[in-house]
Symmetry: C2
Subunit: 459 residues, 2 copies
Amino acid sequence: MMVNKKRISCYSVCLLTSIALNVFFINNSYLGSELKKQKLSWSQEAAAEAEAVASISCSGHGRAYLDGLLENGKPICECNACYAASDCSVFKTDCAADADSGNPLFLEPFWMQHAASSAVLIAGWHRMGYTFNDQSFISRELENHIRRVHAVARNAVTNGKYIVFGGGSTQLLDAAVYALSMNTSSPARVVAAAPYYPLYKSQTEFFQNMHFEFEGDASLMNNSSDNTVNVIEFVTSPNNPDGKLREPVSQVPLTRAIYDHAYYWPHFTAIPAPADKDVMIFTISKLTGHAGSRFGWAFVKDKEVYENMKSYISQAEMGISREAQLRALKLMKAILHGNGTEIFNYAYKKMSDRWKNLSEIISLSKRFTIQELPTQFCNFFQKVRGPSPAYAWLKCEKEEDTNCDAVLRAANIIGREGSLFDYDERFVRLSLLKSDDDFNLLLHHLNKLVAQEDGPKTI
Amino acid sequence: MMVNKKRISCYSVCLLTSIALNVFFINNSYLGSELKKQKLSWSQEAAAEAEAVASISCSGHGRAYLDGLLENGKPICECNACYAASDCSVFKTDCAADADSGNPLFLEPFWMQHAASSAVLIAGWHRMGYTFNDQSFISRELENHIRRVHAVARNAVTNGKYIVFGGGSTQLLDAAVYALSMNTSSPARVVAAAPYYPLYKSQTEFFQNMHFEFEGDASLMNNSSDNTVNVIEFVTSPNNPDGKLREPVSQVPLTRAIYDHAYYWPHFTAIPAPADKDVMIFTISKLTGHAGSRFGWAFVKDKEVYENMKSYISQAEMGISREAQLRALKLMKAILHGNGTEIFNYAYKKMSDRWKNLSEIISLSKRFTIQELPTQFCNFFQKVRGPSPAYAWLKCEKEEDTNCDAVLRAANIIGREGSLFDYDERFVRLSLLKSDDDFNLLLHHLNKLVAQEDGPKTI
């Protein structure tokens, strides 16, 4: 009896332990939704591989990637600009604050917080063919989701408009220039109002042909009295670099506009009303921050222009990567989760905070100013809201500071010089889109520069 | 005592069951390698989602995809050309055999057999930036793996050559034309020896500028005595459509060749020696069958040509999708697994079998012939091997069959007409690259057509 009692007690403990273990496994394998319940087979290894890489610690100042270079068979940490060491833990003193590129890494933390909803697994046999089932190069599911995101953001009227996918907005800008100039009687003159995004000039000149040529500043087209000249104007709204909402400035009658709406999201600007233009170009780069995906889309009203743009994409590269489209779809789904407003709230708050921090420093300066942006009613937030631009358009106000870029570089700040935007060298564009590390260093260096304005402090 | 015995027996059974359950979980969660052992968190849902879609039965005549259109919240089956019904189980009688496009679905079964090694999971924050850590648009890991695949295939000398990534070989063809014509004294004439791939003409004409124009058949350039004329010749080897290995035919002194080596893999041709030319273009489409990825690469010897091609890619779309690059890397890794020869053996066997089957039917015909291809020593197999081309270049031999495409269409066979290749309409290209369903139907219809040559049979 004694033995039996002990035996029972042992059984009980063993059973309870074992059941507890069962519960542990069940909880971990089959928790929550159906998908969380599902046992994995062929996808297990790829998923585990991605998690293993994600778990490599880079001290919050870098990242390891699945396709990173290897050391001892493990991807190495790729450190943010001013950090070094194998785990990115060492800050490089005297490191310059690089505010040059529009790399939209400010949204990276958002996606790390939404790891489960934004991950996507691509099977080896996923969409191997040239076309989708409807013989197009376009995922209809992705198209539908893009239209829904615009409906949530209330930033564009997409009904009754065709859609074209491109390799970033970059490719679509060129496709639009081709499309709008294909049937003009004389070569179209391509213009943009200065200060304008440098690619308009470099791309149009690189691809120049008999149908179009780059003319430069759109405001110079105002006095043309020639009614037969064809003008294509890039209208960037809000503008890169200065964040201002824009309309075409060319007053030539035969002007057709390409609206570059890369930044027309609640992240960066008040949305006075949904945009409703003939050719509007958007990019995932400035919506979700995925610049590396090279994925953009254009809404086009006119069928012929649409067909021409489609021909361009077809001749240039037979449609856009299925992997990029699949991932874009997953990101759109993640955005639309819940009521779909979370990313806009997050991005607006972040960009708005950055703008406030920067403004505070500049307000203490007599040497530098930044552009003034109005508070304005926003169709998305349904209220008046303050500015949150993607870039500061900084001006050196002192008479002798004619080359503002040089002034900043001397203070260890790298911006993009005004002359690249076909504008005054007294101006420099500072990117506010980059990682927290980059932005904080920019603030630090600017702070120091402004503090030195009254000469070195003595006790 | 009785009660206790029963209790013990119950405990024993429960414990055994519970332990068995644990063993089941442990086996399934922690089997095999480290990665198979790893517990998943944020990646679980994406992996399960991909497996759920993969498990949708489309009767082997279709496929459901993660980004497919939905019905009741589930992606629908996308059926192969001649199949219908929600599970693709219904064969459409009188369906035409479509052998038009070069859709390389013949490799789909290979990837289904290699599901685990070819799957890739993309985290939401994977490579959001414009550039890799070295400021380039190119994954060095992918570059290294591509060079290794060529070393295994023994089809190209890649040492001492620069690499450029493009949106399929399609984009690189145009980039090469730009690069080779940028600094010529007069517009370059772009040529290719007929029969040639239709895109050379359509793309060059679409993007024509002051630096180059499409001239047509390369053989027409032979008599030019002008020593100052610049010629760019597309040399497709093996050739699309006829599978022949080629060298430039233009005899103009200032001829520069763009070698389109899309099909220069053991899949499709004997490799007499590794290719070692100045500009060589390859594509993942015809290596792994992933046409939808839009990913290609060029090896370039000359630094200036390389820089020009890089500028092209940069101005056109700022580099190639990170998702496409990551997946290409996973596919290259899968290929290189083991000794790296499996895919070449598989693809050669499949294409060679298809060619044999087709040849057998055509050998019974007096009305049709297909191109003759030699058996030849192959540097990869290290032995003499028979043909396995990507396309049949079918000729209608009967005097009255001047339009061969029409003859085939009347027999429910869709090919690509010879005139599209700037050639005789007596020829039609038949794709041998498509799915088993497509290829088998082609054989069936051809068989029927050939059997009818002697008129309807009577008893």
